[in-house]
């Protein structure tokens, strides 16, 4: 196994097996007096696809928001690509989010975090925040359209007029417009018809990760079954138990 990170020349395409994309240590976060995440540790290697499963209100979305710096307060260390992005003191939510996003985070939020007056095309443009992504955004948009063909006809339509499934496609497409190193996908199948939800998950699985990693929070374990590298349970603000895909599959068969 080659862990010699120092041999890697800056500027060359990164080819580092076992590099840590995300390293969370002792993270607590919440809103006002409410503490949602309790001393949570999580390490994500590059190339990994991880599923986080858990019930409503147990902190899956808050974990993602804490990584993005969007919770009311948080403490603990969050290292993204080796750089510290966690903050100890309470801060205005979202004050540093754009810097974290520039450091390589793509958050695909749950529900309708969209700009309802922008067209689908402008939406995809707005996802291309790095200079390089902005320059070849045309090619990237074509790639998104290959993943989500239904969007092709809707490019000039304001997103506020789309259906729920189409909005979710736009939201995910916006997150996929950059070369982020960590994709956080929050409940991709929530509120969608089963067939559409399945095709959205298929699209996420089809994304070539390369050196990036992807965490998918999902309530429907069956959708992730055997398709992610690890499944982690989340219960009252803590990560409980960890299972590889094979193990999860095994348990599923016994049950």
């Amino acid at each position: 196994m080659n862990i010699s990170v120092s041999n890697h020349l800056p500027g060359t395409p990164a080819r580092q097996p076992q590099r840590e994309v995300l390293n969370v240590k002792g993270l607590s976060a919440g809103y006002g007096p409410v503490r949602v995440i309790h001393d949570l540790d999580l390490v994500v290697q590059c190339g990994e696809r991880i599923g986080i499963v858990g019930l409503n209100g147990h902190g899956k979305s808050t974990l993602f928001y804490a990584i993005a710096g969007l919770t009311g307060w948080q403490r603990g260390s969050i290292k993204l690509n080796g750089g510290e992005v966690g903050r100890m003191r309470s801060q205005g939510p979202g004050r540093y989010t754009h810097e974290i996003v520039r450091a390589g985070l793509a958050l695909i939020p749950q529900g309708d975090e969209i700009f309802h007056g922008l067209t689908v095309e402008e939406h995809l443009d707005s996802g291309a925040y790095t200079a390089a992504a902005w320059r070849d955004r045309a090619a990237r948009k074509l790639r998104i359209l290959e993943i989500f063909p239904p969007l092709r006809k809707l490019m000039d339509v304001p997103v506020g007029r789309l259906s729920g499934g189409e909005r979710r496609m736009v939201s995910i497409g916006r997150g996929l417009m950059t070369d982020a190193s960590l994709f956080l996908v929050d409940e991709p199948s929530l509120g969608l018809a089963p067939k559409i939800g399945k095709s959205v998950i298929n699209a996420l699985m089809a994304v070539e990760l390369g050196n990036a990693a992807m965490i998918i929070a999902e309530q429907n374990v069956a959708l992730l079954e055997g398709r992610v590298d690890r499944v982690i349970g989340m219960h009252v603000g803590k990560l409980k138990g960890e299972a590889s895909a094979a193990l999860a599959l095994n348990v599923y068969r016994k049950a």
């Binding site: 205005g92 979202g94 989010t97 996003v101 700009f115 309802h116 922008l118 506020g160």
Partner: protein
């Protein structure tokens, strides 16, 4: 003749107030800041243009540019002093309101202390000519006012439609939370927004100075009108602000002609209240095709 006078006055007023209202509307919806220091920026830009005319050049376009630039400078200063320190604190809307109001009061007192109470006069920017067209007389300042404000507004709106920064500003206007998720920094964008809206205030200040004078408190009335037009158009909607500016400009011209200029504010607020009673979201409520988020 009467009709033409009302129509031309309506258009001129609509252009100037529309410029102010669009600035206030953009600031409100993208930064969540009801910028009550707009009156100060207005006066500040007026004095900037006056200083330029006194010491550098009296060439019209240059004076206009100086006014716009000093307005933009004023906007950036207000952003650094009144927006950046408090924008992520709780209760920002009220705090921002009070902070900008305080800046307005302090700033106008400062202008009064520095320049004195005597109002200043800008040189004529558009020359002194007039065109007569089938009974209607168009004077230079009217034609110039309309042409300049329409041109500059068109350029600004075109820029907001087509450029990357414009996309950022529009995204922030629609959903600031989602904007931070896609990597749009509030603080950097706020400087663009305040610079541009300050520039629009500067434009309005120079244009209005062709009819009135520049004085420390000269920005108060335009600001009140700008805020109420922005409210009437539905805060956050550029098209709504334009339509509201036309409606209220017409109201002002009509009131001035029929029952006297001092009743303008009375009739104006009656019109605004009636519009808001019928359409609580302002005129934009009629235009918005998207579903509510």
């Amino acid at each position: 003749m009467d009709i033409w006078f009302i129509v031309s006055n309506t258009i001129v007023l609509a252009c100037i107030y529309g410029t102010l209202a669009i600035g206030i509307s953009i600031t409100w919806s993208s930064l969540g800041l009801l910028n009550l220091s707009y009156g100060f920026i207005f006066a500040f830009a007026g004095y900037g243009a006056w200083l330029f005319a006194q010491h550098v050049s009296t060439w019209g376009p240059a004076v206009l540019a100086a006014g716009i630039l000093s307005g933009a400078l004023g906007g950036v200063i207000i952003c650094a002093v009144g927006f950046i320190p408090i924008h992520d604190k709780p209760n920002f809307t009220i705090r921002g309101l009070i902070a900008t109001l305080a800046i307005n009061l302090i700033g106008t007192q400062f202008l009064l202390w520095w320049f004195g109470p005597r109002s200043k006069n800008l040189p004529e920017i558009f020359g002194n000519w007039s065109v007569s067209l089938s009974g209607a007389v168009f004077t230079a300042d009217k034609v110039g006012n309309v042409a300049t404000s329409v041109l500059i507004l068109a350029v600004v709106l075109r820029w907001m439609q087509s450029s990357r920064r414009g996309l950022e500003i529009r995204a922030m206007m629609m959903n600031p939370h989602a904007a931070s998720i896609v990597g749009i920094g509030v603080r950097r964008t706020s400087f663009y927004v305040m610079g541009i809206t300050g520039g629009l205030a500067g434009l309005a200040a120079v244009l209005l100075s062709q009819t009135y004078y520049i004085s420390p408190f000269g920005g108060l009335m335009p600001m009140i009108k700008g805020v109420s037009i922005a409210l009437c158009g539905g805060l956050g909607s550029v098209r709504g602000a334009v339509i509201a500016a036309i409606v209220l400009g017409f109201n002002e011209a009509l009131t001035g002609m029929s029952i006297g200029g001092r009743y303008v504010l009375v009739t104006q607020f009656v019109v605004i209240i009636v519009i808001l009673l019928v359409r609580p979201r302002g005129i934009a409520g009629l235009l918005d095709k998207a579903r509510e988020a």
